[in-house]
Structures are given as structure tokens and as C-alpha cells.
């Protein structure tokens, strides 16, 4: 799969997460901060699993990233992470590096707009 450009709408939807938490914007922000703090670590795990040719580790790391990103309706990240998770499950990593690039682009956009959303109160999906 390819992701050439990530729109703000596909990057994340923080208000949807706030709504899912019963409107508790403060808890939503705290959980978003956890994600922002951990996103780099999860990306590193995905990258290292691909570099090391370890499909099981890729499956687990991509699954965790997909789950965390889905809180914020980060469609592009979820889509790419799901593809990598599936590759990890089948053990076929032939397209993994291409998809990793898409994931990295999507992840960078998501982190940028999500950080703006929680720091400035702006909406990352508009």
C-alpha cells in the first residue's frame, strides 16, 4: 500500500477521542500525551522488527501501534500499521519497507497535528 500525502482528517481526530471518553478532555489529553511519548518507541520496535526480519515482533509492534493510534482515529497510521501487522502475521515482509515509509510519513503528520491539538486546543481533523 502507499500513502503519498496524509490529510489532517486522516492524521487524527482528537475531538472524537474526547467524545469517546464521555467528553473528558483532560483525560483525553493525558492519554494523548502517553501516546505521543510512546509513539517513537513503538515506531522503533516496528523498524527494528523489519530490519531484523522478525515477523512475530513486527506483528506485535504494529498491532500495539495500530491500537493506540485508533484511539485518535488516525486513519493513515492505522491503515499502514494494519498492513504491517498482517505482513508480520503471514511472515511475508517483501513489502514491509515500502509500507514502513508510508507509516513513518503518516506517523510524523499524526504526531504533529495531535501535539497541536492537545497543546493549543485546535482540532486535528477539520
Amino acid at each position: 500500500m502507499t500513502v503519498n500525502a496524509v490529510s489532517a482528517r486522516d492524521a487524527c481526530d482528537f475531538p472524537a477521542f474526547v467524545a469517546r471518553l464521555g467528553g473528558d478532555a483532560i483525560l483525553a489529553r493525558e492519554m494523548a500525551v502517553i501516546f505521543l511519548d510512546d509513539a517513537g518507541r513503538l515506531m522503533t520496535k516496528v523498524r527494528e522488527a523489519i530490519d531484523g526480519g522478525r515477523p512475530g515482533d513486527l506483528n506485535a509492534a504494529a498491532h500495539a501501534l495500530k491500537g493506540a493510534a485508533s484511539n485518535f482515529n488516525a486513519a493513515a497510521v492505522v491503515h499502514a500499521a494494519a498492513a504491517l501487522e498482517a505482513m508480520g502475521q503471514t511472515g511475508d515482509l517483501a513489502e514491509a519497507r515500502t509500507t514502513l515509509q508510508a507509516l513513518e510519513r503518516a506517523s510524523q503528520t499524526m504526531i504533529r497535528v495531535l501535539r497541536m491539538a492537545i497543546e493549543d486546543g485546535t482540532q486535528c481533523a477539520s
Binding site: 473528558d24 492519554m31 502517553i34
Partner: protein, 179 residues
């Protein structure tokens, strides 16, 4: 979450610096309020077996000896999460925890760990804030690190109690497995 303002702020209760910094326009909330909100919202991240929590059944949040958290939970009583109306109550250390869906055990009360042991394999989500909680039979630990909220989940204990924790939550938590 309702925010305590001005004189309503409970003196002496730890305010969460990170929460204030993230929401500069909001009044500070207490640690107990943050935990209460989390306990309430956990219902959206955890699935109980139908035999333990049938559709439309009330979701019972039990608190062992932490009056601040219990008070902070009051505003959530009667609210629904995933179709289940929440009801919170205090639970004594020698009580049967089987009627609880979520059981909060504060780390300061080691004697309350007896409740966690008694919960055993029952479908009760045990939540605590003690440093060793998830290594003492508990499933989810909530704590603050550098003034920031963090979670730790023991997936072995979750599996033993037949609770399914969403990947949305697992992806935000540190995952611990027991041998």
C-alpha cells in the same frame, strides 16, 4: 469530568501539574478525580464475559478504602459507559469482590490486596496504584511519572480473569506478563 474550582478544591490533595499544563485554561483537578475519571472510562476499553456483565446490566466500580476516589466517582454514578450504567461503592477488605466489575485498591493500603487475592480468577478488573500492584496479582496499575499519567497492564492476569482489554488501551500501556 467536572472540575473543582476555587474553594471547592480539596486542600492538601495533590494537583496534577501535567494536567494543568496541558489545559492551561482549565482549573486543576485532583489526583483522585483523575483516577475516578479513568476508572469510569475503563469500561470503554475492557470487555467482560457476558456471564459477568450482561447487556444493560449495571457496571459496578468498587473502591477499597480510598474515600477521595469514592467521592470523585459520585458524579459518574448513573452515567452510562458502553450501555452499562455505572454504580460506585465502597468495599471492605473482608468483603466478597465477586459483585464488582472494577475494583480499585489504593497502594497505600496493602491489607486491601486480600481483596485482589480473593478476586482470583473472577472477571473483576483489579486496578491499583501501588508500585508492585501488577506483580501482586493485579491487572492494571495507574500511576504518575514525572507528573504524567501512565498505565501498566499485566496481560497474564487479564487473561486469567477472562477480561479482554482493548488494543486501544494496551497500545497506551506498559505491558507486563507474569510467568
Amino acid at each position: 469530568m467536572a472540575l473543582l474550582k476555587g474553594s471547592r478544591l480539596i486542600a492538601g490533595v495533590v494537583a496534577i501539574v501535567a494536567l494543568r499544563s496541558l489545559a492551561p485554561d482549565a482549573a486543576p483537578i485532583t489526583e483522585a478525580q483523575a483516577k475516578a475519571s479513568l476508572l469510569f472510562n475503563l469500561g470503554a476499553f475492557v470487555s467482560w464475559p457476558a456471564t459477568a456483565l450482561a447487556g444493560g446490566e449495571n457496571l459496578s466500580i468498587c473502591v477499597a478504602g480510598d474515600p477521595d476516589v469514592l467521592v470523585a466517582l459520585r458524579p459518574f454514578d448513573g452515567r452510562a459507559i458502553d450501555g452499562h450504567v455505572v454504580a460506585s461503592r465502597a468495599v471492605a477488605d473482608d468483603e466478597d469482590p465477586s459483585t464488582c466489575h472494577i475494583l480499585f485498591v489504593p497502594g497505600a493500603r496493602q491489607q486491601a490486596l486480600a481483596l485482589v487475592r480473593r478476586a482470583g480468577d473472577l472477571p473483576v478488573l483489579t486496578v491499583g496504584d501501588g508500585a508492585q500492584f501488577v506483580r501482586q496479582g493485579g491487572t492494571l496499575r495507574v500511576f504518575f511519572e514525572q507528573s504524567r499519567l501512565r498505565f501498566e497492564i499485566n496481560t497474564t492476569n487479564a487473561a486469567r480473569t477472562h477480561l479482554k482489554i482493548s488494543s486501544r488501551m494496551l497500545g497506551l500501556a506498559r505491558v507486563v506478563k507474569s510467568e
